[in-house]
């Protein structure tokens, strides 16, 4: 029997998901993973919470050991860079190993932060949160940092501002937009987060552009459109851009979102080559326009699809509604699909319903407010987006609403939804239903 060799480039969530699925689909296959880094099988998403001291150490972020992968038959080549791909010859060029043949190739090269594009970008003292070993080193540096600047209020930026404030560091957030996470949230959702950051001591510089970084060897100040901020550290949290250099050099095609073009099976434009994770783009379930730079859960699921199909199985991925949620400041925020800002930007016809509800029975200790905003298509009243801010229960609602968007649920259905009522975990009136009812009332009036 011929043993197929499946090569995976990249050891992040997508790469490890792909390798595991490939091995599960074809246990006889030789599955080889190349990673530039020292480790695989950890959660980089947990790094900000170690910096913020919510998680006591980095070791807890590791999900599996090197031995775990060896035992499961996945051959991981650590600190080994793939320098080229020859799709015609079905081989990859590997630093230190030469040309390595493959039968199937899965590209999971992840993302790079968008370059700052200002003078001084090469200075030391710029922290790009990505690799856990570097994070461990930076965590020691943070002990001596008095003032830090976080550049851009991306999801990671929100987490890092919160983490640095928890750490007692004077934290400045510099962002060119009018409010935090403006690409995904609305001002009424971001507002409570920003207020809580100010109460935690953060200084927020919105509508502010970074123009330069200054220092002799290491950064000592940032210059912005609003003036200069002296600092010991800059945390770069710019947009995640697909890392497609290797793939596009080999002739694979990228789309308008910058990610590699794939189909529902994660097959690229080149036969025998699949791709998954932050290096690809996938269609949005409502607009069908491709988007890129999603979460670790998306990357892992895409990797599973790519690995299964590369090994000879059959699995399909769906267009995405992108449920998201996070802790920022003293709040949880989250949503799905379109925000009011994004729908307005794209000029997508929409109607909005908003409600403020509560997370538990009104008399139960620890009850918190939840603000829910629903967006619907005006003609059919199908749900096309949602936004939420509260102190608990955001993630579960975002997941539920993502299924509602995907399956075409309407505001009529949400307005009459049944809900769990139990004083410690749910109020009599579900805030989602209230927002839907308010939307219908608004239309009726």
């Amino acid at each position: 029997m011929v043993v197929q060799r499946i090569v995976v480039i990249g050891g992040g969530a997508a790469g490890i998901g792909a390798a595991g699925a490939a091995k599960a689909t074809d246990p006889g296959a030789e599955v080889r993973v190349y990673t530039e880094f020292e480790d695989v099988g950890y959660s980089p998403c947990g790094i900000p919470y170690v910096h913020g001291k919510e998680i006591p150490d980095f070791e807890r972020l590791f999900l599996a050991t090197r031995e775990t992968y060896e035992t499961s038959g996945i051959d991981i080549h650590y600190e080994t860079k793939v320098t080229g791909v020859d799709v015609a010859g079905k081989a990859v060029s590997v630093h230190g190993e030469g040309s390595v043949r493959y039968d199937k190739l899965i590209i999971c090269t992840g993302f790079e932060y968008a370059p700052l594009g200002v003078p001084g970008s090469g200075l030391a003292g710029l922290y790009y949160v990505k690799n856990i070993r570097r994070a461990m080193e930076w965590d020691t540096v943070l002990d001596g940092v008095k003032v830090a600047v976080v550049v851009e209020a991306s999801p990671l930026g929100l987490e890092m501002v919160t983490a640095l404030c928890h750490r007692g560091i004077e934290t400045h957030l510099v962002d060119p937009d009018a409010w935090a996470l403006a690409a995904a949230t609305d001002p009424d959702i971001a507002g409570p987060v920003q207020d809580s950051w100010r109460q935690m001591g953060a200084q927020l510089h919105f509508n502010t552009t970074l123009t330069a970084l200054s220092g002799v060897d290491s950064v000592r100040s940032v210059t912005t459109s609003d003036g200069e901020i002296a600092c010991d550290l800059v945390v770069v949290c710019t947009k995640k851009q697909a890392n497609t250099t290797l793939a596009t050099s080999a002739g694979l095609k990228a789309g308008s979102a910058g990610g590699l073009v794939v189909d529902e099976g994660m097959l690229t434009t080149t036969p025998g080559v699949w791709a998954a994770g932050d290096c690809i783009e996938v269609p949005h379930s409502v607009s069908q326009i491709p988007i890129q730079g999603l979460s670790g859960s998306h990357a892992y699921a895409q990797g599973k699809v790519a690995g299964t199909n590369a090994a000879g199985g059959r699995r399909a991925y769906q267009p995405v509604s992108v449920p998201w949620g996070m802790v920022a400041g003293e709040w949880m925020i989250g949503g799905v699909s379109f925000s009011e800002t994004l729908a307005t930007a794209l000029a997508i016809p929409h109607v909005v319903g908003v409600a403020e509800g509560i997370s538990r029975a009104r008399y139960y200790p620890g009850v918190k407010k939840i603000r829910v905003k629903l967006l619907a298509e005006p003609r059919t009243l199908r749900l096309i987006g949602a936004q939420m801010v509260g102190a608990e229960g955001i993630k579960e609602r975002a997941d539920f609403l993502a299924m509602a968007v995907r399956t075409g649920i309407t505001i009529y259905e949400l307005a009459t939804m049944e809900n769990v009522y139990s004083p410690p975990i749910g109020a009599l009136n579900e805030p989602i239903a209230l927002a839907a009812q308010n939307l219908l009332s608004g239309l009726a009036s």
């Binding site: 609305d186 009424d188 789309g255 189909d263 769906q318 995907r406």
Partner: protein
Amino acid sequence: MAFSRWLRATSERYLMIAAQHKLAVKYGVPPPRRPRGADLFWLRVYVPAYRAVPWRVRSAIMRRMPGSHRRTWTTGDRSRGQAV
């Protein structure tokens, strides 16, 4: 950068700035900075022109751009059709 990617990135940037202006007024928060230089063209010419075109036409144009959406994708519930 491919033209389609540049066009999309630049278009999205200015459409978002214009949307932030609208939402800032609606919710009473500070709006984005006043446009200057090349911003003026995009915000005063491109954005109004974009908005003047019906969504279904705009959507059809966007879907003709190269990308993953033009390959095979099975949606979860085909019976209800496209939402927007």
